[in-house]
Symmetry: C2
Subunit: 117 residues, 2 copies
DNA sequence: CGTCATGTATCGTATTTACTACACACTCTT
DNA sequence: AAGAGTGTGTAGTAAATACGATACATGACG
């Protein structure tokens, strides 16, 4: 059901065509897990790894951690912390934006970024 | 470390002063857990319960589920789903609003609610 | 005084999460 | 042809999660 593994594999293999340092073994080594484990992750034989491992993997492969976490079915712990500090506010906000088109969300992001509060 | 248990206890005891149906046993019964378990939760002897149980408990006690989940150190699964569908967008938005005062967030919520997209 | 309800102590467990360790077969290079 | 490197199969595990079941002591109540 999860496309996490295959996606990782695709990205790694793409990188590997230009750089031999992107073998299962070497990547696993740099990320700090066992090669056999990475292999299983890539084939979806096991569930996606922990947040920490997922983020390290994302960085190693030059991908956006938040996107990879999403593929792994997770939401970064630091985002959760922000939400948990003001649950009503953020719950409302997120539910409000649930169906909103990308542009609307983007406009809000920019508005707040540039906003002089 | 977690104020979840004591908060639940306080709320339940307050309700109980006016209604005997808010004993550990009866509440546990309606929520669908063992009284002994609820007792341990309230005293913080065990970690806060699962999302499902937390939400049922919140409803039973007339409290906001999102707030109770926050106290339990969790973020509602449906909010996480929303975020996971557009991780970059929502990650940006939330980090952007991390330090923003309540009013600013509130203004955004209203703006989007009334917005005619 | 008996019984009924209260909260709690104790013990146990199924399931999930997140991995490690080792060995093996195959391929590629030199 | 030998060695290095490649991916993977198999087996196992420590820790966390999320509870259930039973029994027990205490106090209130009629």
């Amino acid at each position: 059901m999860t496309r996490f593994g295959p996606t990782i594999r695709a990205i790694r293999e793409r990188l590997r065509e230009e750089d031999r340092r992107y073998s299962v073994r070497q990547v696993a080594g740099r990320v700090g897990i066992e090669p056999a484990y990475l292999s299983k992750i890539e084939r979806g034989e096991v569930a996606p790894p922990s947040e920490t491992t997922t983020v390290r993997l994302a960085r190693e492969l030059g991908e956006d951690p938040d996107v990879m976490l999403a593929l792994a079915g997770k939401v970064s712990a630091d985002l959760q912390t922000v939400i948990r500090k003001r649950p009503r506010l953020f719950a409302d906000l997120i539910r409000q934006l649930k169906e909103a088109p990308d542009e609307v969300v983007l406009r809000v992001v920019r508005e707040v970024r540039d906003g002089n509060w």
